[in-house]
Symmetry: C2
Subunit: 294 residues, 2 copies
């Protein structure tokens, strides 16, 4: 009746596996840091451990992009040993004849929040993950929009600053060059702030440090502009903001809402709301499991 799904969430810094029931509840989970080498050995051990001898109805996989959905391969920027790695086939070989579904991490987060998040409910939702990079995913009519190659939702590469900084993608002025954790930190350090990571930057901002506050404000304004563009093109009324950097809630959320309100002015956009993710780090796992019903 409620046979659980095995879910895998592959991120650039963290790996997670879980058993998730059809109501989106995480029954059992395990997490590790993503190792520099031997990622597949780690992943396969985690899947075996968390599954144990439980019956499962299939496996859902969330993986940081870019991915190639046709080939079932993944090429995460921050997992250098995985270049066109055949993740879907490798996982399928572990479980025999069961269904295996793969999508990028932004799509899984969006689907998890849409199906099981406290703020969800809208069938037209865009999910954004702000952490080491900036990713996202679109749900329309209650179904994930995967795109031609499985990479729809790459909001981190919306151009927010014409002639802006070079981006890891080879372009320039991408949202990711302004709002990702490492770029917030770099911008603040160039202006005299002395910390090391986005968590420390959030602590400084909350303590009133002017540079740290400006870093989050600049990042949120750019994010709001990008989301106004996304909302106009995708016609969604709910935007869910998650990821490690976004967990500095109001620091990023307030300027994001400010810029969205300034730019998203057509009548069909005025009802668009930005809310924090409610599933936290479980969102990717819950959404990966939901791929089997998508």
């Amino acid at each position: 009746m409620n046979t659980p799904t095995l879910a895998l969430d592959v991120g650039g810094t963290k790996l997670a596996a879980a058993l998730v029931d059809t109501a989106g509840r995480v029954l059992r989970s395990t997490r590790r840091r993503t190792p520099a080498v031997g990622v597949w050995d780690e992943v396969s051990a985690m899947l075996r451990d968390v599954r144990g001898s439980a019956p499962i109805r299939g496996i859902g996989i969330s993986c940081v992009g870019p991915i190639d959905l046709m080939a079932g391969t993944v090429s995460p920027v921050n997992i250098t040993e995985w270049m066109r790695f055949p993740l879907r086939d490798r996982v399928a070989a572990l479980v025999g004849d069961l269904p295996v579904a793969l999508a990028n991490d932004g799509v899984c987060m969006a689907l998890g929040e849409q199906r099981h998040g406290a703020r969800g409910g809208s069938p037209y939702l865009f999910g954004v993950v702000v952490s080491t990079g900036v990713g996202g995913g679109l749900v329309a009519g209650g179904r994930p929009v995967l795109g031609r190659s499985g990479n729809a939702g790459h909001v981190g590469h919306v151009v927010v600053e014409p002639g802006g900084d070079p981006c890891g993608c080879g372009g320039r002025g991408c949202l990711e060059t302004v709002t990702s954790g490492p770029h917030l930190v770099r911008w603040a350090r160039q202006r005299g702030w002395a910390g090391d990571d986005a968590a420390a930057l959030a602590t400084s901002a909350r303590a009133g440090d002017a540079v740290a506050r400006r870093a989050f404000r600049r990042g949120g304004l750019a994010l709001g502009r990008a989301l106004a563009s996304v909302a106009a093109v995708c016609d969604v009324d709910l935007i869910v903001l998650g990821g490690g950097v976004a967990e500095a809630a109001e620091l990023l959320l307030d300027p994001t809402r400010e810029a969205l309100a300034e730019h998203a002015r057509l009548e069909f956009l005025r009802s668009a709301r930005v809310v924090p993710a409610s599933l936290g780090s479980a969102g990717g796992l819950v959404g990966a499991a939901a791929l089997l019903d998508a």
Copy 2:
């Protein structure tokens, strides 16, 4: 077997109605300028004229946005007497029990090009219409993406210039404030060019006028940046450029391609191509008819 569809295309400056067969061929058509008042009378007369006594299988309607798909109403910015006008019900009342489908003009153009355009073929296509405004529409997996309210594809309101000019939508820096026909003309006139409309601007640019050439170049670069953002979020590999201003082909197309190549650099984006529309002004009619099979 091949009973035609009655198609209606409502634009801010032109109205068109046609009988279109299931192969996307326009069998019979009529066009008028959009009158300042009495638009519905004109539209209903055109539908009656073009239909004659032919059997039809239904009606497809393309209308300039914004629209409200749930209510079946349209509120075109340039047709002031139509504010939440119940276009779908009015048309349905003309034809009795036949199916009636409505979508915004960008979606219809994209669907027409995808199903019947010479350059089409990709099931993941974004269509852009550059004329009095800038509109667009997304086809994914061969099907139109309508969005929550039927307004998905509003690429004219992608933010391309942070802090840019005020837009008719109430925002600022929208693509429409840079690349639409009236804005190209305004920008050029502010710099000493003396003509009146986008067609004259294209003639001047082809004759070597430096300001006119810069106007198209500026418009195309902004369009290319917006389309790089759209391609990243929607994961399409084909972008079709149509509308009156875009018919100045290479003037807009070359800088659009240049900016797209600069910004769309992730592997899944590198294959994205921009091509001119092949159906011309019939694209909206052909796409509207195709809504009945979408």
